[in-house]
Amino acid sequence: MISRAAKEHIFAAATRAALGLSVCILAFLLGAIIVRGAQAISLDFLFMPSRDFGSRGGISYQIFGSLLIVLTAGLIAAPLALGASVYRSEYIKNTAAQRLFDLALYGLNGVPSIIFGLFGLILFVNIFGTGLSWFVGAVILAIMMLPTACMATISAMRGIDTPYRENAYALGLTREQTALRIIIPQSLHGLVTGLLIGLARAIGETAPIMFIATAFSGAGVPSSLAEPVATLPTHILALAQQAADPAALQNAWGASFTLIALVAMFSLAAFFARARLLPLSQR
């Protein structure tokens, strides 16, 4: 029988050991990415196109392609998320219908990313016959962003006090006018934050776009919607498969570092957007 005091010590040691291990893992991950990435990053690397299957040259088109796809995805997702959130929060009053809507959103959020790729491959690339197209990639990423953007917007709308709505109705505004003048402006921070978080997540996605929107080499600035682009995640994938080549590996770290910097940029933007756009009434 171990005494209570001894158990206390064992337990404390276990949590301390766990903390130590976790901190080591976190430090290793961050350290590896920063150290290896910093070695590979240079202005040339960021602004030159890649050569020799990515093992030489830079990642300019990959950065461009990634930004093109996710920003377009954001533009597609924004109006959908806004409209859907207004409908969910201002029009659906039936609890069961609300539940169903939320369930659909949570469900979409839980779908593995490769499934979105599979879905896009079947529906767009094959059934609609679009071929490899960056725009299809943007549409798929927009779908992936929808739950995040909707949930953030809906929760911002939930934060608007009922008196605002009652006052608007009392002034004779229709439901649409209330939505347009009161609800949407007051919940804009939710939409923007949600979208930016969605963008941060989407830009790192590989599986959804690797079969439908990206090309290995030669892809530059697309001249039509139905052309593939190069992206950072798929570039890293191609380079990671040549791990025996130090030059390729070095560029993979550089591309990873850049990708994470972009993710961090969107996340920080989300953080500041939330602070800046939060309406005075809710600060």
Partner: protein, 288 residues
């Protein structure tokens, strides 16, 4: 606020329009993207085509997009009209032709390559420098699992296989195993591209794999083939003379509705200038 909202509607409108256009230009996969040539397929052919494409783009300003994906994928995308040219390191199979019987395909050889059984340098240095087809087959079928059986060190054989759709694998299986679809129960690891195969062989100290000559290096050593007439070394000369048995043509495939731009690029690859890129990639030129 209004502004943002209108903007939203505008974007939605554009999105819908774009989706409609995309759908409309789909159909039976008629490529619409004017002067862009889209190519995908075998990672074996890729280095040659990619180099040629870079050069061609520089000379003419034409846009050529090259994608990896394996011979199977390359054919599939071409047949479905998603690309203009497919790269293959094996022939089109009867099943593939049957599946897309409504199209006719033109196959052009742009170079020649040899696949060799290759081993980790440690094994090669320990004295295993040649194997017969039967011996390689024994390894992949799981009948032999130690290098000592071939005069090597007393170490388990680590057999690296490739994905079934890969051209390299099908050529190797057809010639060495005698059946291109033969599964390899003795395999310990399956990789995709030539790069991955190279990495796996280099990282191991007792591995055997199948690799295109162009990927052989100091860590990954191709073996001579033991035949009734002695050993055939894995050299380009032996490939050229036809003595080395596991060779294949590097192919590009087009559909009957090939675009002029794609045709022009193929002509460039076949020209003496284009063929230098094939040689640079480590392969043998055609027409020589």
């Amino acid at each position: 606020m209004r502004y943002i909202f209108r903007y939203g509607v505008h974007v939605a409108g554009v999105s819908f329009a774009a989706a409609t256009i995309l759908t409309a230009c789909g159909g039976d996969g008629v490529k619409t993207a004017g002067d862009t040539v889209s190519i995908s397929g075998s990672t074996t052919v890729l280095p040659a085509i990619s180099r040629a494409a870079d050069d061609y783009t520089m000379q003419t300003g034409a846009k050529i997009i090259v994608n990896a994906g394996g011979s199977g994928g390359g054919f599939k995308q071409l047949a479905e009209g998603q690309t203009d040219i497919g790269m293959m390191s094996r022939d089109i199979t009867a099943e593939e032709r049957a599946r897309f019987a409504r199209h006719s395909f033109t196959v052009t050889a742009i170079g020649r390559d040899a696949v060799a059984p290759a081993v980790s340098s440690e094994i090669y240095d320990a004295g295993v420098t040649q194997l017969s087809f039967e011996q390689v087959t024994d390894i992949y079928m799981g009948r032999v699992d130690n290098w000592s059986a071939f005069g090597g060190p007393d170490r388990a054989i680590f057999a690296v296989d490739k994905e079934a759709g890969r051209g390299t694998r099908q050529v190797f299986a057809r010639i060495v195993f005698g059946d291109k679809n033969m599964q390899a129960p003795g395999a310990d690891l399956v990789v995709g591209s030539n790069n991955e195969e190279q990495t796996a062989l280099a990282q191991s100290d007792s591995a055997i794999g199948m690799i295109s000559f162009a990927w052989a290096n100091a860590d990954v050593r191709p073996l001579s083939i033991t035949t009734a007439n002695g050993a055939v070394a894995p050299t380009l000369d032996n490939v050229n003379s036809g003595a080395f048995p596991i060779t294949r043509d590097l192919l590009i495939v087009t559909r009957e509705d090939v675009s002029g731009q794609a045709k022009a690029f193929i002509d460039f690859v076949l020209s003496p200038e284009g063929q230098t890129h094939v040689v640079d990639a480590g392969y043998l030129p055609v027409n020589k």
